[in-house]
Symmetry: D2
Subunit: 333 residues, 4 copies
């Protein structure tokens, strides 16, 4: 039995946001969903473990382990913070790999989903360009590879509109030829809240699913399809205009609720209906007029480059023992 | 006496939107404001002439002639439509130049405001890169310049954060050295409505004013400052999140007003208050949480490139008689 | 039996140059090598058919059909000439496809070899980005595809240093999944003469061979490897410094030979030895000092973009009957 | 009296190369020319002081202080070496500023000459984008600027073909408005030897002179013209094909001279004539055939980016006491 994600109309690719939608109060546990939140020096780390079908149904997310880093101040260009986030991400990701059973000698294929030419969708290809690949050394001169490195390869399969081929088919073909043990796929996501855009990294061992991310994926990258596990690293880089509006109304509701118990007077029916119903209403109004565009912050070029460096340097340190993970940023350019 | 634009809190750089805010019904004339709207083959052309102080106060815009092209379907990548828009813009702009007194032998300096490295703010520099400049030929070998060309030069002065110098000071210095008769300044603007982003071109003979456009301008490009007239070509490329929300609530109001006379029930107090009050409310909620970001559609790279080509080829045809303006696009790359 | 290309030390990927090396006089036929040269309005078209083993051995090129366009004036930025070259290339390539047995319903996979981030090696990826792909329409809604289009897909597999996987392995995997009938591979080449760089297009039905092109390919794209024919489109974008020097000495030799019969006095031993020996000598001197760099003209950015547009628009017109091939440039951006 | 640089036909913008042309043996002093060479950890630092007219005439360079860093191994991508070079350059440049009389409170205008869109000519604009500018803080909130910073501004004036205005006129206008005390101009140069391309940085207090650098400058940036001193930082990024050939013949001559005293036999007349005569000969042969192109190594994108970072981070540390110059690279992106 698979959970029908379509039923959840608020467009988010983040488990964190799905969880908040179901139960805004983080202290009330949801059966089948384990949650752990830590904050340290401006980096908030949330672990959500969807343990069974009951939990999956409850929050509308597949069973699996979701690790999320939130760093609101990433918005302010601060290269020291970026180094710190890259280092933290490297440590957390190294632990995560162990937790989900990826061993030190496992061969990794990094897949950078997305489109070079559309900046908010270019995160995946940008990571591919900056990670340290080693597979060719292992193939060509296995005796000369220093200890502390594992076999890593990386591809950016492009998007359907540019290639005419599903990216999942391209990856399948490459997996069959190059025989990795595990895939790490990087994807740009949609968030329901603008302030999570480019400040959040989600890691999940559920692969990439049809319809997720920015492009129109009709097939995914999953263990069922590929025969090997796929860990997804997703970063929200866009929002739908309708979710910005819906989210703002929600914020207005909370705002006025703190000041008055007459929010019904202020927001009318918008106060009564559920978030999903309200979103449907907003979409109903915006879409026919062509207003439900997908948007990204105007500083997108810089955000994507910074985030691409954080993830690439984090991956380099997490995947290769020989890369010093106390100062991971030195290994990318 | 100057009009205090700050009093108008809805953030728009478009006269069209300022006028709509004051009097949504286009058929009711505003004293001191002449307006003419024509639509042809998907291109809507609006001329607003703010004729005197009364009109300026009424719509919160400076006296002057505002020419606006709106082409909603520019969003759909259609190279034939783009050629058609470039050609139309060239013809309208050539007429506009005559109307505001720019003569055929006047020397033109094109100023591309904005920042190369921030895509939604890169329109100005992109136009500079694509226009046909001729001033150096007139300077170096005046006898050999073919008839039908005028003296055109072009600069991209950069932004304060990159140069440390106000762009208006840089332009002043260049004007004093190169002695043009008129400036045409290209600037990326903020719109109050997402659907006007990258589908609208505004021409105005009022120059560039402090605080307008995307960057933080503290000084402008005006006749007072420069001693020569400055025609501004502005294209909205961004929106504030708060104006998206406010605009959406307005649209919901109109939407429900068509179906019921109980919009008060649906939207509560949001229905009662003025657009300005409502925007203030939205900002009050969003800003402290860092949600009032400036956003741009995710396809921004392509939009800016297309719009840069339309404007550059339009300018080439409007400024040089020798450039055939029945097919203007052939002259840029 | 295969011809050992290594024996031919002058580094060129062009059959035209290989032929010139063997027999500079174009009027003296080489057994097993058919040659036909036409020049029209600044475009020189050479057809070389290496018909058998004898011919292959003679000029050190594999058996097959080589079509070469040379347009020296492509260097001067002239957009009308570019359109004319794209149109001519489209017509010649359409004929070539018939000649080598590619039928109208054959499904084509375009492979853009090379590296986005190294401009002289970015031609392949740039063509991929600009060609019209249709395979996904045939897969998703076959009934709605207009007549006059064929199934075309396109990939840029990246280079070994970025992916860690041979591009030939990646292509093999994609071929097995997407099942095209024929491959058209675009590759940047080395030329022995600087003036052919970015002014020449070579088409050959021999595939891509190890060591050809700019990157270090260890495996090729050949019918033996892929099971389907591979047509290579190559454009010289670089030269070795040593071949520039060697070529210049050759030119000096010809130059002085026209003026005197004492070239021996002027050029000493350089006049006596064969071109291959002289190249070996030049390399012997330059290489230890790190001077035998691969170079490209300084205008490489513009050249590669222009050439990418010519090839992409030529392919669009040659592959799809519905694309009007009297003005092919309109279909790319 | 000015020295006629045109008389020196070997095309180089480097004093180092001009000196070598006149007297290849570094141990034989040239009257009026002081020279000091130090090498440390792969970085060769040459100081040439052209002290008077006699020296200027002797080596065909203007009177002034030339500081040159040569780092042949910059070619091999090595980020630690790059950091080391940036740090060394910062220290040397800080000392150089003192030596030529630039004081700690002097206001600096950095001028990045060249063209964004032509990679080998993009060094100047790239440095401008990466330096720390502070002038606007001093102008807007002088009380709040931390100690240890000086007033720095930066502009990229563009090239004549894009702007239609001489870059020197643009800079003059900006100088008059912004009133700096000294200019530091960054320019891409031509070298006579390919191995110096992108491995060499020259600093000189002679300003920028007509005809120097890559673009066609007709006017320069000099104290005479601007009223303030101009320090030029030049990096060779291109070579003429003819100088590559000429240089190679020179290398062959040296090579054979070590093995035999019969170089006359090997190189004929090429052995007898002077380097200038030989270059004239090479040009005579190559130019009419369009072979005397300006070339750059194929890895130009990466070289220019690396060099831009080295210079920008070096300038930041040398100009602002507050920037730690033991690890200068951390301050650019």
């Amino acid at each position: 039995m698979t959970v029908d994600l379509k039923a959840y109309s608020v467009r988010t690719d983040l488990a964190l946001e799905a969880r908040e939608l179901v139960q805004p109060d983080a202290h009330i546990p949801i059966p089948g969903v384990f949650e752990d939140v830590k904050e340290e020096a401006g980096i908030k780390v949330t672990r959500i473990h969807v343990q069974n079908e009951e939990g999956a149904r409850a929050i509308g997310r597949l069973q699996g382990r979701y690790l999320t880093l939130e760093v609101p101040s990433l918005r302010r260009k601060d290269s020291k913070l970026q180094d710190r986030v890259a280092t933290k991400f490297a440590q957390l990701f190294a632990d995560y790999l162990k937790e989900v059973g990826v061993q030190e000698n496992h061969k990794v294929l990094i897949v950078g989903l997305g489109n070079w030419n559309v900046t908010p969708d270019a995160l995946g290809p940008m990571v591919v360009e900056n990670v340290l690949v080693t597979r060719h050394y292992f193939e060509l001169m296995p005796d000369q590879v220093s200890p502390g490195y594992r076999q890593v390869s990386a591809v950016a399969p492009g998007v359907l509109g540019i290639t005419g081929i599903e990216s999942s088919e391209i990856v399948q073909g490459i997996v069959e030829k190059s025989k990795p043990d595990v895939i790490i796929a990087i994807d740009a996501l949609a968030s329901k809240s603008l302030e999570r855009v480019n400040t959040t990294i989600q890691v999940a061992d559920i692969g990439i699913h049809p319809g997720s991310g920015i492009g129109n994926k009709r097939k995914g990258l999953t263990k069922e399809l590929l025969g090997i596990p796929c860990i997804a690293i997703g970063v929200p880089t866009v929002c739908y205009a309708s979710t910005i509006v819906n989210n703002a109304i929600e914020m207005m509701k909370s705002h006025f609720a703190q000041e008055t118990d007459q929010t019904r007077d202020i927001l009318g029916m918008l106060d009564d209906i559920s978030e999903d119903e309200r979103l449907a209403l907003v979409k109903e109004v915006l879409q026919p007029l062509g207003h439900d565009l997908i948007v990204t912050p105007k500083e997108v070029d810089e955000f994507i480059e910074d985030m691409g460096n954080i993830i690439a340097s984090g991956l380099n340190a997490a995947l290769h023992e020989a890369v010093d993970n106390s100062n991971v940023a030195a290994y990318t350019h």
